[in-house]
């Protein structure tokens, strides 16, 4: 039962993207189409589950002082793996995601989960946590992608919507910021919470390790 909780919390309640406000760069960059959003989300999920499992297995081996470089290398290894797989099996998605596939390495969701969860918990809960968080991220990317594709190119999942004029500003960068802002406002409205004042550092799970979040003391 508790295992199921680890899985389900990432989907909606602690959605890393819309509630945790992490991993903004890919959210804005690849969501011009719903399909790309799903692809990016699933690729991130793969890396997240893989790195969570490995980091959880090695949690007693990795020395505390060098844990950040160790985590980054493990994550980068999985990113290389998924980019090979996509290049081989789904080349169209590989081209659509471009550099952002490699930039999964520095996605703060992954490093954040390694830091917050995988380094303290056993393998199975860590894997489930990664899966839940990854699927939550996929869900929000899919939502973003759907809104932008429907408004911006008058189609959904590649199917044209008849009788609708595309507003191409929504597939451009300005539309990305706008849609994300509106979706976060909507999430706040529904959950009845006050939106967090700050983004990035303070909300980032790495804040503990990060000197700048603590005002310069290492």
């Amino acid at each position: 039962m508790s295992n199921f909780k680890e899985f389900s919390k990432g989907l909606i309640k602690e959605n890393p993207n819309l509630v945790g406000l992490l991993g903004m760069c890919p959210t804005l960059a690849v969501t011009t189409q719903a399909v790309n959003g799903i692809g990016m989300g699933l690729a991130t999920t793969f890396v997240l589950v893989g790195s969570n499992i490995v980091i959880s297995l090695l949690r007693n081996v990795i020395p505390k002082t060098v844990k950040l470089p160790c985590y980054i290398v493990i994550i980068a290894g999985f990113v290389t793996l998924i980019s090979f797989l996509l290049h081989g099996f789904i080349p169209s998605l590989y081209d659509a995601l471009g550099t952002f596939l490699n930039l999964i390495t520095v996605n703060c969701i992954i490093l954040g989960r390694a830091e917050m969860f995988a380094c303290k918990n056993k393998v199975i809960p860590s894997a489930l946590d990664g899966l839940g968080m990854g699927l939550g991220f996929t869900l929000s990317l899919f939502l973003m992608g759907s809104v932008r594709e429907i408004l911006g190119s008058a189609s959904w999942m590649g199917i044209k919507i008849p009788g609708m004029q595309p507003m191409s500003v929504f597939v451009m960068s300005a539309g990305g910021f706008f849609v994300l802002g509106c979706i976060i406002a909507l999430v706040n409205k529904i959950s009845g919470k006050k939106p967090p004042k700050k983004i990035g550092c303070a909300g980032c799970p790495n804040a503990e390790n990060c000197a700048s979040a603590k005002g310069g003391q290492e």
Partner: protein, 192 residues
């Protein structure tokens, strides 16, 4: 020379890293509250981008490429950047304490800034020469700084604005970013 000029225009205005490539959104939204911190972060990013390119480009073309290990570029580059940020921090602390005091706070943040990894990877993808790569890294950093400085001005106005309750904080910041990004779209016809 002409190519360098085109790289400059493209990196600073047309394909601005923050506003049209969406790299480095976290520091863009996190640090842009004050003008002084925007300047500090921008300077640190320019510095690390140029230094990281100076190291990653030779590593790629002299070590990875001749040995057929191109696929290791992500792993190698992120390690180099992580090492480099640490090194720069230690060196600055020792050699130039005033500069360290100004930039030091922002340095650890840069490891996970995707703009830095992004620029090193894009230099390779675009097939730039060494000099072009360094120019691209430098001007990408300048573009990042420009976006941060412009946006810090917008945000200081936003602080006092009367915004509906649900839009306060992040949503209004994102929508303001969207308007700033809209203004950068005017540059898009500059380079064919």
């Amino acid at each position: 020379m002409k190519e360098i000029l085109i790289i400059m225009l493209s990196a600073v205005f047309v394909d601005n890293f923050v506003l049209s490539k969406f790299m480095g959104i976290c520091p863009f939204l996190g640090v842009s509250k004050k003008l002084s911190s925007s300047l500090g972060m921008g300077a640190a990013v320019i510095f690390v981008m140029v230094c990281a390119t100076c190291v990653t480009y030779p590593v790629y073309s002299l070590i990875l490429e001749p040995n057929g290990l191109e696929y290791l570029n992500t792993v190698a580059f992120i390690l180099i950047i992580a090492l480099f940020v640490q090194l720069v921090e230690i060196m600055l602390k020792k050699v130039m304490p005033p500069l360290y005091n100004a930039l030091g706070v922002y340095l650890p943040l840069i490891t996970t800034n995707c703009a830095v990894l992004g620029v090193t990877l894009l230099n390779i993808d675009n097939g730039y020469t060494f000099v072009q790569s360094i120019a691209n890294a430098f001007f990408a950093g300048v573009g990042f700084t420009l976006a941060l400085i412009l946006f810090s001005g917008v945000r200081s106005k936003l602080e006092t604005a009367d915004i509906p309750e649900t839009f306060k904080g992040i949503p209004s910041t994102l929508i303001a970013a969207s308007i700033v990004s809209l203004s950068f779209m005017a540059f898009s016809g500059l380079i064919k």
